[in-house]
Symmetry: none
Subunit: 226 residues, 2 copies
DNA sequence: TAATAAAGTTTATAAATTATAAAAAACCAT
DNA sequence: ATGGTTTTTTATAATTTATAAACTTTATTA
């Protein structure tokens, strides 16, 4: 679940935002002044910050600037009453990811939040292309080939594969995989995991019955090596 | 947000560039040797590469040459301590887009980066005429034809088509398309997107029920290929 | 080596996603 | 307002994917 920090002094707006975001299944923290806000931003590692421009003690620009110059890349959406273009430019220059002027519709804000989070997710250290033996996988295109032949994989197969690549050499238990790839809201059996491993072996291994990449670690899980 | 890959062995320069670029709202990846640099260039698909000439393991010329001969068109700006004209020429010959000699001012570098990205963007972004099979689309005139017959498309269809062309080969989710083409202020459902895809297929594909250009990527979105 | 537990595999069914057509709503120029 | 167009929603069919059950094979250990 994504954690969002709201730094906003107007109590009504703060409450309204919090309620709406929680309804949309975000984990919400709130602060009402700039100084405390900055502290939370630094210590609670939120996934996104909604940052009001006019704040007591320390304003939004300053917070944004300080976070960025401390090397903090958390996505920031600025909230402001001022609609002037100049403000927008300044906000974005100082490192905000988006800028919304009050009054805004909650739905608009929600869709901007989603967009900013999605952008971050696609940029962050994601692998685009990965090679396993004569198999080449392009995650951005969701396309893969074994030699000259195309391989077709479902989204879940790509996700599982990506997880293994990101945890190369580690023993990954079935339950960890279920938590990380499936999430906490569905509960397939651990046998389901076996099914996917089988699929990946069939599609990727040279000899699926003698796997060289997706190794079984008896009574512990699987380990991907390459 | 544009992703920039810095390949530079001097840790001070690397850090300085990273900070400055991040302040300017770029997403920054760094590598400190040639081999890893080449790997990142291939796998992380940056929008631009700042490439030092003198690098351990594999030098800048080689990286540039290898990327280009592999068909990679990512913009490259070479950084070098050698000011000699010969170097400059060699760098540009090997496919670099620009060349900056150290010491350089950060402002100069930033403006060169902007210029290179802008040049690329105008090439990729402003399509006038585009051909898909026997279909020719003129975006400036908003006119299209399939063989000798005219095709009539609405503005939204043109916009969606253009987005797909600018994201050729990539998997585009319905939500990304909604955000990018419709914007944040209207909220059609993802099913609306399906309808537009159907329209485009009907008008553009040879056999709309066996699409060759607008491919469905189940549970992920669509991918345009040409 | 027999007993037991874990993993592999196949298959049937359920669930989710997408395609399509048609109707309804919104928009626009007259 | 009106007719025509575009956009969006809705309903249903078609397709694809996810999952569990049942069974087989392999590995562990007493």
């Amino acid at each position: 679940m994504k954690k969002i920090l709201i730094i906003e002094d107007d109590q009504a707006i703060r409450k309204g935002l919090k309620d709406n975001l929680e309804l949309d299944n975000y984990d919400v923290l709130t602060e009402s002044d700039g100084k405390e806000g900055l502290k939370s931003a630094e210590n609670k590692s939120p996934d996104l910050i909604l940052l009001d421009l006019n704040l007591p003690v320390k304003n939004g620009y300053e917070i944004c600037k300080e976070l960025r110059s401390a090397g903090n890349n958390v996505p920031i959406i600025m909230l402001s009453a001022r609609a002037e273009e100049a403000d927008k430019v300044l906000g974005l220059e100082l490192g905000a990811d988006d800028y919304v002027t009050k009054p805004f519709s909650i739905r608009e804000l929600l869709s901007r939040i989603k967009a900013v989070l999605r952008r971050k997710a696609t940029i962050e250290d994601v692998i685009d292309i990965y090679t396993i033996g004569d198999v080449e996988i392009n995650f951005r295109k969701m396309e893969a080939s074994k030699g000259k032949k195309k391989i077709y994989m479902s989204l879940k197969e790509y996700e599982i594969l990506k997880f293994f690549i990101n945890h190369k050499e580690e023993v990954v238990s079935r339950n960890l995989l279920l938590d990380e790839v499936w999430g906490y809201e569905v509960f397939p059996t651990t046998r389901t995991v076996d099914n996917y491993i089988m699929m990946l072996r069939k599609k990727i291994e040279k000899n699926p019955s003698v796997p060289k990449h997706f190794l079984t670690i008896h009574s512990a899980g699987y380990r991907f090596v390459n």
